[in-house]
Structures are given as C-alpha cells and as structure tokens.
Symmetry: C2
Subunit: 430 residues, 2 copies
C-alpha cells in the first residue's frame, strides 16, 4: 500500500480538462479511499495555448503524446482525445503494450477496436477501463461486469444519447422544428457546434449498443450491418401526432438475443407516454436490462457532459488503485464467442406510417390494399383532410410485421403521384 501511481492525461478538451481539475480536487479523497497516492506527471494536447477553463501546469505538458512514455514512468493513462482510430488508438495500444493501465471514455475506439485492445491488456496484465464510454455518469459497464455478472441477460436497451433525447424533448415541449431546436442545443453545449452528426444519426448510440451487447451476452463485438437511424428526419408533425396518440418519439438503442441470435439496432421509436422509457426526458440516459433471475433492472442518470463523464473516469481510477485487475469485458477474451446475428429482415415491429396524399377518392383504398397484399394488418387509421389545399394526412398504425415485408410494401409508393412524399415510417416499441 501507499504506492505512488503516476498519471498521464492525453487530450485536454472539455472532458480532459475537467478530469484534470477533478484529479486535483479529489486527490486526498481518492487516496483515502484506495490507500495509494496519485500524481499527474504528464499531460498532452494539440495546443498548449488554447483557452481552457482550468489552468494547466506547463512544466508537464507534451505536444507529442507519445513522448510521454519516453520521459516518464506512467502507471495509468487517460485517453481523452476521442477518435476511433489515429492517435487515440496509437496511444492506447502503446500504453497497454508498455504495461500501463488505460482509462478512456472513448466509445467509438472501444466499439471498433475493443476486442483487439482487450487482448493486449490481458496479455500484459493491465486494465483497460471504459466506464465513461456508455451513458456518462451511470455505472452501467460495472453493473454488467460485476453487479449482474451471473445473470443470463437477454435484452439491454435504452436511451443512450443525451443530445438527441434533449432535442426530441424540446421539440415536443416547444413545437419548434428539428433545426431550430438543434441550434438551441448547440448554444447550450448539448450538441457539438461543429459537427453534431455522429450524435444525430445514431452513430454514437450505436457504438454504445455494441459495447453493451458484448458485456451483456459475452460475445466479441459484432461488426455486422444493422439498422441505424437517427433523428435528423424527425418532423415536428410526427411528434404532434404522437402526442395525440399518447405517445412520444425516443431514439432507442436496442440489443437482444432472438432465438440465440444477436440483434442490434438504433432507431427512433414511438413509446407510450405512460411507460417508464417514455418519461426519460431531456439529457437523461437510461439503460434497461432484462435478465434471469434478476428480472428487469433500470439505471438512469445524466448521460453526457464533463461532470458525469469525469465521475465514471474516476471510478475506473479508484478501481485500479484498489488493485482490481479485471478483464476489460468481464471474462477472458478467449472465452468470448463470435455470435450469430439475426438478419435485419427478420426484425418485427408495429409501425406508424404517415402518408401525405391528394384528397382523391381511391387513395386510401390503394394504400390499404397494398398493406393487405403484404399481410400487414391495420390497427388504427386516422385521416385528417386539409380542405384548403385538397390534401390529406393519413396515419396508419399497423400490427407487427417484418422489416423485409414493410420495405417491400412501401417501396411502390414513391412512384405514386397521389402520394406527395415518401411515406414516414416510425417503429413502435414493443
């Protein structure tokens, strides 16, 4: 006990700098909790002169992050750059090979190279920790690896991206369009000012789904093509109609085992307003697991921002300082299996379909006939005419049907001149 651990931090953006500050503030408490001492011996970022929220110690600054390893004996490295490849991968790889523990909030790195990096960590008997990679401050990685470790989990899903959840919540609340609310989110720091695309198109949530699957089902991270849809095309009109149907639109990440096969997806879902998930609003994240014998477990908390992220980064640090050597994915890499995947075509849902049509006789029957041809049975139809311009909105809620069926069925409508735009399809959460 009372060993001194040397810490390096690479990347001093919003998260890295907050962490740097927290490590100073919490130094004594961390030492009390773990019986070991810490000191930051090296930091690195592209630009030493960038305006930062907290002052940095220039004496331990490196422009080239790889130089850190030459000049110092590092015990624990925080990777806070955030790329899926490039320097992020290089640093983590180099550190692990040099028997240095790595802590990272980098979900895209782990989702893409997690298996490879885990093997290096195991071979070198060091830790690769990534609690902050999924759902910010919610300790869901730890919960799956430790707390629920002996349960047979068959499903894990939830709201995994705070930015999109904030936007959807705000659209419903204000009635404003996606683009207006996105701007507000950027001003508030909830969405990246430069390129918010990876949040909006579901990519960020999808990386988290891949990581959750691996931890829940003990499989190697899957690489298959999946249904991944974001919220860029969510129209305020659908949010309002959902509201009338006592539902809300949420961007869900879903991973489940169906007949022994893995199915992963991210897409907007209509969920009931009276359900749990329908009430996780704003920047909150929630992860729900279904397991045996534990039943359904819910974890909810703030999913983004430097505070929650730093909370998770420090929990990883405390774990390492306490001497807990852990396999990055809970069990040894050679015991993790490749898992067969369910074809996207077999994915089954009730659907919300919205058609904007010319208000002419026969249009509705053409739609319903087409649905009938594909054995898609209708649960509910709401037709709202707009007398002024002789148009109408037809909303149809269907019973369950497969992806393959629905895409075949709907494909024809893009060539129909009575149907004024591509039909809107939003899946219902079952």
């Amino acid at each position: 006990m009372n060993k001194i651990f040397n810490i390096g931090i690479v990347g001093l953006g919003q998260i890295g700098i907050y962490l740097y500050n927290e490590l100073h503030i919490k130094k004594k408490e961390i030492e009390k909790k773990t019986g070991n001492k810490i000191q930051i011996v090296a930091i690195s970022a592209k630009n030493i002169n960038k305006k930062r929220k907290f002052k940095i110690n220039r004496n331990i600054f490196y422009k080239n992050p790889l130089r850190i390893f030459d000049k110092n004996k590092i015990d624990i490295l925080f990777e806070c750059v955030g790329l899926s490849d490039g320097i992020s991968k290089k640093i983590v790889e180099t550190a692990l090979k040099n028997k240095i523990n790595v802590i990272t909030p980098n979900k895209t790195l782990i989702a893409k190279h997690g298996d490879y990096l885990a093997r290096i960590a195991e071979n070198n008997n060091v830790n690769l920790e990534f609690e902050a990679a999924v759902a910010g401050g919610i300790p869901v990685i730890r919960t799956l690896k430790d707390g629920l470790s002996t349960n047979k989990i068959n499903k894990v899903y939830g709201i995994l991206n705070g930015t999109t959840n904030y936007i959807l919540t705000e659209m419903e609340k204000t009635g404003e369009t996606f683009h207006k609310v996105l701007k507000k989110a950027q001003q508030l720091g909830y969405a990246e000012p430069g390129n918010p695309k990876l949040d909006l198109n579901g990519f960020d949530a999808f990386a988290k789904v891949r990581i959750l699957s691996a931890l829940s089902f003990n499989n190697l991270i899957s690489k298959n093509d999946c249904i991944m849809e974001g919220i860029e095309n969510i129209d305020i009109k659908d949010i309002k109609i959902a509201n009338q149907l006592n539902m809300r639109i949420k961007l869900l990440g879903i991973s489940k085992i169906v007949n022994g096969k893995l199915f992963e997806t991210v897409h907007p879902c209509l969920v009931g307003k009276n359900t749990y998930i329908g009430n996780v609003n704003g920047v909150m994240n929630a992860v729900i697991t279904q397991g045996y014998p534990v039943g359904e477990s819910i974890l909810q908390g703030e999913g983004a921002g430097p505070g929650p992220t730093s909370s998770s980064l420090l929990s990883d640090l405390v774990s390492i300082l306490r001497g807990n050597i852990k396999k990055p994915f809970g069990l040894p890499s050679n015991k993790r299996k490749k898992i067969n995947v369910l074809s996207n075509n077999e994915y089954t849902n009730s659907l919300y379909l919205r058609f904007e049509v010319k208000d002419r006789p026969g249009v509705l029957s053409k739609i319903t006939n087409r649905l009938a041809k594909f054995k898609i049975s209708v649960k509910r139809i709401i037709q709202t005419p707009n007398k002024r311009n002789n148009k109408a909105t037809i909303v149809i809620i269907t019973h369950k049907t497969t992806e393959s069926n629905s895409s075949k069925c709907l494909s024809i409508f893009k060539n129909d001149k009575n149907i004024l735009q591509k039909p809107i399809l939003i899946r219902l959460y079952n």
Copy 2:
C-alpha cells in the same frame, strides 16, 4: 489462477436453498468468468428434513453451523440465516476471524453490527460483502462503493421495501383495505406469513437506509433515534383522496445531509403521480442518489425474492473469486467518521392532514386558527360533508413546517370532542 475455493452455506431457507441451486447451475459460468474453481463443501440448517424446493447433498450437511469450521477449510461463507444477532452474528464473526470471506444478504445484521464486523474483516484482510442486503437484485452497494465512489453525495432515497410497495400499489388498484391486501400479499409470498411486521413498520427499510447512509456519506453507521413509520395505519380513504389530488402514497426511505448533519428516516410520503418515484409500483425497488458532479442517478429493479437476492449474492462471489479485496464500506474503518445528526424536530415538510369532524359551525375555523397560531400556512383545504351522519372530512395541505411545530400544533386535537379521531398526518415528498 485456477485455485479451488471451498464454499459453505449456512441457512437453507428460501434464499439459501435458491442460492445452493444457482451455485450448481452457474458453476461453469462463474469459473469461466473468474478463472477460479468453486465447490460447495458444507451446508447447514436447523432441520435437514424440512421440505425444500431443491434437493440437498446430505453428506455435507451440518446441524450445528459452527462445526463447519472445524471439519472443513472454508474460503467463502454465505450467511443466509437472517437474524440481527444470535447465530448469524456468531457465524459471521467466527468466519471473519478465521480469515474466511463472508457474503450475506442480512441487512439487520449489517445495520446493527456492520462497523464491528467490517473491522474484523479488514484486520484479517478478507471480504465482508452484502450487496444483497439492500434492494435485492439492484447492485446499489457496488454502485456506491465503486461506480459513484468519487462523487460528493448529499442525498440517497427511494423505495426500499417491495412488500409495502406491493401493498400500497394493490390498495390503490383494488380499493381494498390494508388488511385484505396484506392477506393477498402473504398468499403470494410477498409478505411473510408468520410475522410481516418488520416489513410493514418500516424496520426493514430503515436498516437499508442506515447502510446506504454509511456508503454514501462515508460515516460510521448511525445509531440515533429516527422518525420511523410504516404503512400499517394507511387507510384506503387516504389513498383515494391522494388519488383525487393526483398523488400516490409511497413508503420512502430517505437519508440526506442537511447543513453538514445526517438525517435518516422512513415514513409514508405523498408523491406526485407524474414523478418518477410515483411510478415505481408493485414489488419494484428504486434507489435515487444525488451527487456532484454526477447529478441524479436512479437504480430500479426487483427488490425482493430469491432470484434477485441470489443475483446479488453471486455478484459478491464473483468479485471475491476475481481477487478483489475490498473494504466492506469502501474505505478503511479508521477513515470513516462519526457524523452529527440533525434533530428530528428540525425535519421540514409540507403536510397532508385529514380531520374527521362533526359538521358544526366553528370547527373548521378552530382548526385553521390553531394552524395559524403555529404559523403553519395552508395551501389547500378540501371539506367534504357527509349529510347523512352530520359529519365531515377536512383535508388540509400545508406549506412547509417543522416536525416539532406540527406535533405541538396537532397534539391539542385529541381532546376535542368535535374532532372524532386523531388527525391523520402524511408528509409530502419535497
């Protein structure tokens, strides 16, 4: 690696026997996840012939649990007897002193003797794990010790008892009285058939509150007298009135730091139907923490029953098999402090007051004058006359006032012949 760990189980009631079975089913998976082997070498219960759900191996059965230690080299002992003292304490004490790791779901033992037992465990460098003691399958202990370990937590509260939450939910749903629903709960196995008192009077939830406080605030377990009220006196009438007010009654366990002082309590609360906690129904448990920088975190799951409990017991086992030596309360006992407590009198709430009165002039004004005298200001009054018997029900929702104030104010009414029964007081959750 590949060490063989000898396991003993003392207590083969509902939980012990389920665990015994699970250990057989999950043996391989546990060994795969931890790289070590396990074998059950000793079991003990009062009665070998009792009818049990799963068959036991009689060759390793001991009537006297203390004999287990003489005859075997035990590495890990499960204490599943469940008493706060007596044989439960004796076994755990003996095991720890003999450098045997202990795992227990026994909340009353930990709430009463946890500090003492933790010291023995630390001195002998073995683990005392009690994940299953609070909120069944929800890994809340682990989350506080590890996942949120560096956050400054200022409040932890929630629904900590599945039995009472089931009863309250069922009363609301069916409109049946407490006693009728209690019988149903007993038939379904949600409430103990013999003596359900410890669930109903808040004692069980209170033990959990004490444990949560110690983990959240790093204090020694407090021993002070607290406000502890159960649900035995909850009248279906109040549930119905709450319903009209768009509220529900929930038994909450609350622990918080107010001006640096600890305040712990368990009592029924009126909560909004549109709040998160107001929608945790049935046997579900939920624990909510407020911390900095992580913000609000929620953990929800099944709070009782052998399945969820066993899930937590096995998570403790996996942790020990992975070689994680941990302080039972997260930090060394000598670093845990005695904490000053807030006087119950200073506890402040809005109140729901129900008076059953003779419908005579001046009765209401007498009540409101009395409230005014104690500066308890009224937010809302609902008076419902019952013409047939010349009586009336007066419900008053007050603004915030202290316990000391409200008890002084209400004391007078028991001697008033126009007030037909002791006023009902239920606190509102703020």
